[in-house]
């Protein structure tokens, strides 16, 4: 148990939806969520297929702990081939949708093909309907969710949907669930749009059972307690992830103005104090914190925008509260575009959720456009007359909206930084790996982060490894391969449980092990979990190789490798990728060309896999 032992396969071309048993052999080898979905993707499509074509498969996957009483049990992952990267994409989301999908009885939902006209899926346990989305096409994520709830007369319906950005193929369109939670990265929303699938509305009544309830509840009690008592958890609850802004500013790892700088003079206007500061007119950005399903951390910020702010003064439809700034949104709408107006940032965040876009990729793409603009490569004639200078808060919100609605220069921004910069002949200005934009950490200050970005299977990402402690301690680039490899494997495993990575503020592998072992039948020693993590990483790698990526894609933009950090603790340093990468390949059991060796594949049981 833990698993529902059932998956739902929808073929939008054929208009069919069929439940089938979960392949338990795969579940035992890949756990769930990220890992299991990657295995299903591998087995169900040609990695070389067009990411935006009908042969791509879009998978929504829960884990064995999704929907249980484990803290943070609301996670699900969207796994597909990502259009932004042409690599495997795995975007993980919280909120309440994932647990609901599991309660409807499914571990995984596989979506094949392309509907001839826009549709949405309505799933109530065994009842699955592919319904016309004619009334919803062109609507925002927020309106879509509202329409579905009221049409089906069910305020507890859970919805994952795309906005116009996803419909029109913005390369970093995301899938938004529960209004402001998103499977954000790599353009999984664009894949959904390419399938003419507007939304998935689900209601589950079947519940989830665990294998050994008493042991499980004991593990839950203890692990909840650990989280409750941990300082890291406390900080997440009180400040969200935004607390990071102060440390990165001090450290000199806060990417500023398209990574030209690593410290931002306006950081203190965007930090947790700024979010809680009461202004002379009584307004305070942060309202409260909010949890995803089952989460005892509640790092989510709920904020509102000052009604007198230029962005919404005449737009009362935005006067309500919604998801507020987290570190990555603060970075992507703040330092990297040089903006320090917290209301503008908050509004840009609203727009991302409302229209369904990844804030990181949008912000970093806008940053590249701003650099192009300041360099004179693009002008007002390209930008619909908007002055794209760093620091222009209005440019941020106007462009966010244009991109969300796929209008004017927003269509160019919707290409992502790599395609956009190539278009203007300045590819080096795209701060991305494999086409996916960096998160808010500079790899000259955080060397291991550089290695993590370069080797992440879904393109630049800060959530595919965790070597902060090592990175803050040692900026030499020595000995980074090990912590990166180990944490990549661990992260892949955690992402496959159905739980949130942030629990690692208090938990390590033994805590996950206890919960998995009690929830799932069979024996789950820690060694097995580690092996699963490594197996997933290698499978993802194989997917990418089969998709046409090579070791040459495991690299960073020249700015990271050649331009020394201008200030902060890493002043004068560049990222030592050339030193770290070979060491990493070796540790992984890969050849110099970055191919998993025969022995490695054999050891991980990946050999008999296809391709």
């Amino acid at each position: 148990m833990g698993w529902q032992r059932k998956i739902l396969r929808v073929d939008l071309s054929a208009g069919t939806a069929v439940a089938e048993p979960l392949n338990m052999e795969w579940a035992n080898a890949y756990l769930g969520e990220r890992g299991l979905a990657s295995k299903y993707l591998w087995e169900n499509m040609d990695p070389a297929a067009d990411a935006m074509g009908p042969d791509n498969v879009l998978i929504f996957a829960t884990g064995p702990l999704t929907g249980t009483m484990s803290s943070t049990s609301g996670r699900y992952a969207v796994v597909t081939k990502g259009p932004l990267t042409n690599a495997i994409a795995c975007s993980n989301s919280g909120g309440k949708f994932g647990a609901e999908l599991k309660y409807a009885g499914y571990d995984l939902l596989l979506i094949h093909g392309r509907a001839p006209t826009p549709v949405y899926l309505h799933i109530v346990d065994d009842r699955v309907e592919i319904r016309s989305a004619q009334a919803l096409w062109g609507q925002t994520v927020w309106d879509t969710e509202g329409w579905l709830k009221s049409h089906h007369q069910d305020t507890r319906l859970k919805v994952a949907s795309i906005g116009v950005a996803g419909e029109r193929g913005v390369y970093y369109a995301c899938v938004v669930n529960d209004l402001h939670r998103a499977a954000g990265r790599s353009g999984v929303g664009a894949v959904m749009g390419s399938k003419n699938l507007k939304a998935i509305a689900v209601r589950g009544n079947l519940g989830v059972q665990v294998d050994q309830p008493e042991r499980f509840m004991a593990a839950v009690r203890d692990t909840h307690k650990m989280l409750a008592e941990s300082a890291g958890r406390k900080e997440l609850t009180e400040c969200g992830t935004d607390a990071m802004i102060d440390s990165m500013q001090a450290f000199g790892g806060l990417p500023t103005r398209n990574f030209q700088e690593v410290q931002f003079e306006g950081a203190d206007k965007l930090n947790p104090e700024a979010m809680t500061e009461v202004r002379p007119n009584g307004h305070r950005n942060l309202l409260t914190n909010k949890a995803c399903f089952g989460c005892t951390i509640a790092c989510g910020r709920i904020a509102h925008i000052d009604k007198t702010h230029f962005t919404i003064v005449n737009r009362p439809q935005y006067w309500h509260a919604s998801g507020g700034l987290e570190y990555e949104t603060a970075f992507a709408f703040g330092p990297v575009v040089g903006v320090d107006d917290i209301d503008a940032l908050t509004f840009a965040g609203y727009l991302m959720n409302e229209h369904g876009m990844d804030p990181i990729s949008f912000g970093v793409t806008l940053a590249a456009a701003m650099e192009l603009y300041e360099l004179g490569v693009i002008t007002d004639a390209d930008t619909d007359g908007v002055a794209l200078n760093f620091g222009n808060a209005e440019a941020l919100t106007v462009m966010a909206e244009k991109t969300g609605k796929y209008e004017g220069f927003g269509q160019i921004l919707g290409l992502g930084s790599k395609r956009m910069c190539e278009r203007y002949g300045r590819p080096e200005l795209s701060m991305s790996v494999k086409g996916q934009e960096f998160a808010g950490y500079d790899s000259r200050a955080l060397q291991g982060m550089g290695l993590g970005y370069a080797t992440s299977n879904r393109g630049a990402c800060h959530l595919r490894h965790d070597a902060f402690a090592e990175d803050m301690e040692d900026q030499s680039g020595a000995g980074k391969a090990k912590p990166i490899k180990v944490s990549q494997d661990k992260t892949a495993m955690i992402d496959s449980t159905g739980l949130c990575l942030f629990t690692s503020a208090a938990w390590d592998v033994p805590e996950f092990q206890r919960q998995i072992d009690a929830a799932c039948e069979g024996d789950w020693p820690e060694s097995r979990l580690w092996e699963i993590g490594e197996r997933i990483w290698n499978l993802e790698r194989r997917f990418n190789l089969a998709a046409g990526l090579t070791a040459a894609d495991d690299t960073l933009p020249p700015r990271m490798l050649e331009d020394p950090a201008p200030s902060g603790t890493a002043e004068g340093k560049v990222c030592q990728l050339d030193r770290m990468l070979p060491e990493y390949y070796e540790l992984r059991g890969w050849t110099r060309d970055g191919l998993p060796s025969h022995e490695t594949l054999q050891r991980l049981g990946l050999e008999e896999s296809k391709a």
Binding site: N205, G207, M217, K290, A291, F293
Partner: protein
């Protein structure tokens, strides 16, 4: 001892641990639709209110039941449903002005909060103290007791 749940919506993060704990206690499954406590969210989650039976004095459900399937637990004061006796007529569900006793199609019976025999699991599971157990003499319920024109009932 008469007990009741004291709910402070201000502290609720809508994590639904209470719904998970309640459903597990009563069904052995994690299944929020079968929870007798429900969290309602407002305005993109800016507010959330956990909501369940206040074990009200008037005991509307109990009095409406045609077959005495609802009784008062002597130890806790909880009004509880005897599932064996309940015929599933649902009259209690429309009689209770708080809407805290609900019909469950899969059992054909009604279900409500029974205070778990004295140790409400929702309160145990709540990570923020939004749900606590108190004795009703000192409790102020989040939801006003409704009088329904009952006048001077002692």
């Amino acid at each position: 001892m008469q007990k009741a749940l004291l709910i402070d919506p201000e502290k609720c993060t809508s994590c639904l641990q209470c719904e998970l704990a309640c459903s597990h206690q009563h069904t052995g499954m994690f299944n929020p639709v079968q929870s007798r406590i429900r969290v309602f969210e407002f305005e993109h989650g800016a507010r959330a209110i956990p909501y369940t039976c206040t074990q009200c004095e008037a005991a509307w459900c109990l009095h409406a039941c045609p077959v005495q399937a609802i009784t008062v637990n002597a130890a806790t004061g909880a009004k509880q449903v005897d599932a064996d006796r309940c015929v599933g007529c649902k009259v209690c569900t429309v009689a209770c002005p708080y809407g805290t006793i609900n019909y469950e199609a899969h059992t054909g019976k009604v279900a409500k909060c029974d205070l778990c025999g004295g140790e409400p699991q929702c309160a145990v599971a709540c990570p923020t103290g939004a749900i606590t157990v108190s004795d009703p003499d000192t409790a102020t319920h989040a939801i006003n007791p409704l009088l329904l024109g009952r006048g001077a009932t002692a």
